[in-house]
Amino acid sequence: MLISILLILLLPFLLAPIYDSIERKVKSLIQSRVGPRGFIRSLLQSWFDIVKLFSKELVITGYGILIITMLELFLIASTAILLQILILFNNLIVVKTLFIVFLSISTAFFITRSIALNNPFASIGVFREFHIVLSTESFFLPSLATVLFINASLPLKLMLLIIIALSCYVLSSRIPFDIAEAEPEIASGVNIELSGPLLGVAMYSLHIKRYVLSEVLSYVLLKLFNVHLELYTFFVITLLTFIIWITTSIISIILARTRVDIGPATMLKTMIILMILTLLIYMLTVK
């Protein structure tokens, strides 16, 4: 029993890079090319990247960067563990609040890390990341809280699901909204200065962040049909996370990158409309 719990807690840390390399394989399939060759490499390519990055020479301009990046990894890792516990034991209020708090802090740390670099590209990247977070997080967290704490009526849950799905997509910095490290424009903006192990940590935390966001979405979906998960049925969640991860990556393949003043602005408008709708539905159902 203990081993299986331990395994479940470690699941996001093992699976996140594997899901990422499967995403790379799917992307190359759509672009009619082979992508990472062979079965092992197509599964473990992202792991190879991270292991190689850790073996490189560490070039850092100041120690501030090192500490902040480590902290960022620690925060996102603890968010992942909290999410796993939350899914397993459904009624722990403390774990739920801690999860939401840690989730918001980890995005904040992502921004502070890039401020610490005094590279003009990084500051442009931070400026853009700030735009995205402002446009979605203020709607994402309250709706997530309502889903976790209140078992609302079906239409209300549906509306909240839409909001959570949209913001999960936007926060996972996929193509239309990856303007923070828009590779061709501002030369991978925020992590332009990081190299070697630092970059490995930054990439690893990005993978875990995407895993957490997809898992939150799959959990909310399951909660819609108030299915309660046991220990052994946990692989349903991981399977659903995998499906959500691949669908988001296919969506990101179809679209192109937006501009910093168009994308977040439209996202803010849609979020406000959705929030008004949910409040309306909430008033109707409660009465």
Partner: protein, 173 residues
């Protein structure tokens, strides 16, 4: 209207999947080379007589000639060759052939060099080097010139020829 716009977006996925994977299996499969590709050249030392026409025409000086005491070295440096094939066109002995070879990666510059070494033959009278022996042999093969004249440098030959003329027509020496 909105729906078919989104449907059109997904067409990129269907295009990609319908064409399938076009990647060639290189280096474990055949490369994408057509029959008229110009790769590295190879100099056939049985035909080459060291005339240097290719050295003159080579735009990037990849082919160069060094004259040492008793041999003439034609150096072909693959690293600077631009694979234009002009040397093969101008070579009078058709000694240079253009191959399909393009996998020329190497870790050391010396491996990219190819040398064709000709022995220089000396003038039998004054001993001055007069050019690659293979050149003299090919001259003999094409025109019936007496052995004695061929192994002389231009000055000695001039003297010899002038003496022969003066003897023939009895000029006052």
């Amino acid at each position: 209207m909105q729906v078919d716009k989104i449907a059109k977006l997904t067409k990129i996925v269907t295009i990609g999947l319908k064409t399938g994977r076009v990647t060639i299996k290189y280096p474990f499969g055949a490369p994408l080379v057509t029959e008229s590709f110009r790769g590295a050249i190879s100099i056939d030392n049985t035909k080459c007589w060291g005339c240097g026409a290719c050295v003159l025409i080579c735009p990037p000086n990849a082919l160069s000639m060094k004259f040492e005491k008793d041999n003439i070295i034609i150096e072909y440096f693959k690293g600077r060759c631009i694979f234009c094939g002009m040397c093969a066109d101008v070579c009078p002995a058709n000694a240079i052939s253009v191959t399909k070879e393009f996998e020329l990666a190497s870790t050391d510059l010396e491996d990219l060099k190819e040398y064709v070494i000709h022995r220089t033959s000396k003038c039998s009278i004054c001993g001055k080097p007069i050019g690659p022996t293979s050149e003299l042999r090919s001259v003999i093969k094409s025109q019936p010139v007496s052995e004695e004249y061929i192994n002389l440098c231009s000055d000695c030959r001039k003297k010899l020829f002038a003496k022969a003329i003066s003897i023939r027509f009895g000029a006052s020496t």
